[in-house]
């Protein structure tokens, strides 16, 4: 399972980088989204994938054997990362829209004005 997951993440990264290298700004932004999700999945994979219960201590018991629950921390981390990613996605799309209104172009090659002397 972990191997399949790792290959899948690798594929996502490849797609993300491929999209980042395109000329259209929209595709670059899509590439950023793909990379962001691939990164979230890395955290998920790092926590270990196993079939086990949720991280609740049963009623009456003081502790629980860590082997029978899955680690809740990576899930919390991913949740945070997803929320941040969502905010940034909304912002970057608005920025792109504004840029398109201003210039009428999708072409990254038109974005060379600020680099010139």
């Amino acid at each position: 399972m972990e191997l399949i997951f790792a290959i899948f993440i690798g594929l996502l990264y490849a797609c993300g980088v491929f999209l980042l290298l395109r000329r259209s700004i929209v595709k670059v932004i899509l590439g950023v989204f793909v990379l962001s999700n691939a990164t979230n999945l890395i955290i998920f994979l790092a926590g270990g994938i196993k079939r086990s219960g949720s991280a609740f201590i049963p009623e009456g018991a003081e502790t629980i054997d860590p082997a029978v629950i899955s680690d809740p921390l990576p899930q919390a981390l991913i949740l945070t990362a997803i929320v941040i990613g969502l905010g940034i996605a909304a912002y970057i799309l608005a920025l792109k829209y504004r840029y398109f209104e201003e210039t009428g172009t999708h072409d990254l090659d038109q974005l060379s004005k600020t680099d010139r002397k």
């Binding site: 980042l20 700004i25 670059v28 932004i29 950023v32 990379l35 962001s36 990164t39 979230n40 890395i42 955290i43 994979l45 790092a46 926590g47 270990g48 921390l73 990576p74 981390l77 945070t80 990362a81 941040i84 905010g87 940034i88 912002y91 970057i92 920025l95 792109k96 504004r98 840029y99 201003e102 210039t103 974005l111 004005k113 600020t114 680099d115 002397k117």
Partner: protein
């Protein structure tokens, strides 16, 4: 409970700024809050000066499990300098930033940046550091594109995409690190890595990812391209704020993880960091000398100056780290002040192209003197703070046997001087070229608050140079704290 206050003060302002409609109240409240923040930063400094380190366990969860806020001498120094820079830039912005931007919440997002910066300096675990980075970046994304001019939007897209990629590097590193070590608390991680020496080789991928993330954020060679492409597009007050605070957080984090994790494999990391520093210095200064825009020259110099900090770190001695810390503080103040002067020139002439500027010294002598102080502090002339900073870095280099690196640092200093003299002659000294039409508005615009903001920073520059002794002593204490990793680990975990 003094540390959470540094996060709550900017947050409280953000809430108030949403609720309050009056522009005037919002503006002055922003300045008041920046002063309160400065007051708390001084308080933290006073406490840390006595006891060395303070911490707060949020929600009373003990260290490796809860969220820990830690301030050691290094963070307290950074907090103080950034609070000073922020207060001064806020004062400057009241007059410098246009009404439309202030009405739409310029100060709100500036306080968002402050919250992120304060949080990054206090964060005790890696994921928290990432979250504060994002808070800071979100504020800076909005400020850089605020107003929606064409150049600004273009700069914002470059800034945004490259900074997002740096965050992905950082988070991927965190993920792998967590998978291997099962903890993200920096003190706990450092302890666990120290206890199991063989695990280190497996951690290299994670460490490389994290360092690349910080290097992009800190605009170090070869990841600096976003900085000169975007920093000259927003209003000058925004550039001054960014130059003073943002890249420095990346460097702060690099120093933090270097002294906690990377020092275990110095044979690999020392040369890498050293070369990153040398190349940042040299390439930054060369690129700057070919530019003809006031702010672009200064932007390239940010890269070059951060190189000095990084080589100070790479020497990895008490003297080297103390020099790095001192230089970081000096650079935040001097660089911000140089951008503040650029803001005044832009306000008077609506352009920062060196070829069409001139005569500014005749127009206002005091601004000329202020530029002279900050520029020649950056170039490293005595008795200003830059001289002490460079002297410390070069001395630490020679003492630790890196004589050739010290020579490169001296050589880069000459080129910095060249760029600064170029700006001085082109903007302040020469006559305005005859083919350029004289500016239409002959009536000087009000700039009382702007100039007092700049004077405060200029006094700080001179003060840091003339009364360098106590500051250097403090930096040395901070550096020896950083090198004594056990101290940090024991303090946080017990």
């Amino acid at each position: 409970m003094i540390l959470p206050a540094l996060l709550l003060i900017p947050f409280l302002y953000i809430i108030l700024a949403i609720l309050i409609k009056s522009k005037k109240v919002k503006t002055w409240l922003s300045f008041a809050f920046s002063l309160i923040n400065l007051g708390f930063a001084i308080w933290v400094m006073a406490q840390v000066f006595e006891v060395g380190m303070i911490k707060t366990q949020m929600g009373s969860w003990p260290a490796p499990f809860g969220i820990t806020l830690v301030a050691d001498r290094f963070s307290a120094f950074m907090l103080l300098v950034s609070a000073l820079v922020f207060a001064v830039v806020t004062l400057y912005s009241i007059q410098s930033v246009d009404t439309a931007r202030i009405k739409n919440g310029y100060f709100l997002f500036a306080h968002g940046i402050l919250m992120g910066v304060n949080g990054s300096f206090l964060a005790g675990d890696l994921f928290n550091l990432y979250v504060w980075f994002e808070v800071m970046l979100m504020g800076s994304f909005i400020l850089i594109s605020f107003g929606g001019e064409r150049a600004q939007l273009e700069g914002a897209i470059k800034y945004l995409i490259l900074n997002l990629i740096s965050s992905f590097f950082f988070v991927a590193g965190i993920g792998i690190l967590y998978g291997k070590m099962g903890t993200l608390n920096m003190a706990d991680l450092s302890q666990k890595i120290a206890q199991s020496g063989d695990v280190l080789s497996q951690l290299s991928p994670a460490m490389v990812l994290i360092v690349v993330g910080f290097a992009i954020k800190g605009a170090l060679f070869p990841f600096f391209f976003w900085l000169p492409a975007s920093y000259h597009t927003p209003p000058p007050a925004v550039t001054a704020l960014f130059a003073g605070l943002l890249t420095k957080v990346g460097i702060y984090s690099l120093i933090r993880i270097y002294t906690l994790f990377l020092y275990h494999s110095t044979s690999f990391w020392n040369p890498v960091v050293l070369w990153i520093g040398i190349l940042s210095m040299v390439i930054g200064v060369f690129s700057a000398s070919s530019q003809y825009d006031f702010r672009k020259i200064l932007s390239f110099h940010i890269i070059s100056q951060l190189g000095y900090v990084v080589i100070g770190l790479a020497f990895y001695t008490v003297a080297g780290l103390a020099a790095a810390i001192f230089f970081l503080g000096h650079n935040m103040i001097s660089k911000t002040n140089a951008f503040l002067v650029a803001g005044w020139v832009h306000r008077e002439r609506q352009t920062l192209n060196l070829k069409v500027l001139g005569d500014m010294f005749k127009k206002n002598t005091l601004w000329g003197v202020l530029f002279f102080i900050s520029a020649f502090s950056l170039a490293g002339l005595p008795p200003l703070s830059g001289f002490i900073g460079k002297y410390l870095v070069i001395k630490a280099g020679i003492e630790s046997g890196h004589v050739s690196v010290a020579l490169v640092a001296l050589f880069v200093g000459f080129f910095t001087l060249f760029s600064m003299v170029k700006i001085w002659i082109e903007v302040f000294w020469k006559n305005t070229p005859p083919e350029v039409e004289a500016p239409v508005n002959t009536k000087p615009l009000p700039h009382g608050l702007m100039i007092s903001a700049s004077v405060i920073l200029a006094l700080a520059i001179v003060g840091m140079g003339v009364f360098a002794g106590p500051v250097v002593n403090y930096c040395e204490m901070a550096a020896s704290d950083l090198l004594n990793t056990e101290l940090y680990i024991n303090f946080v975990l017990k």
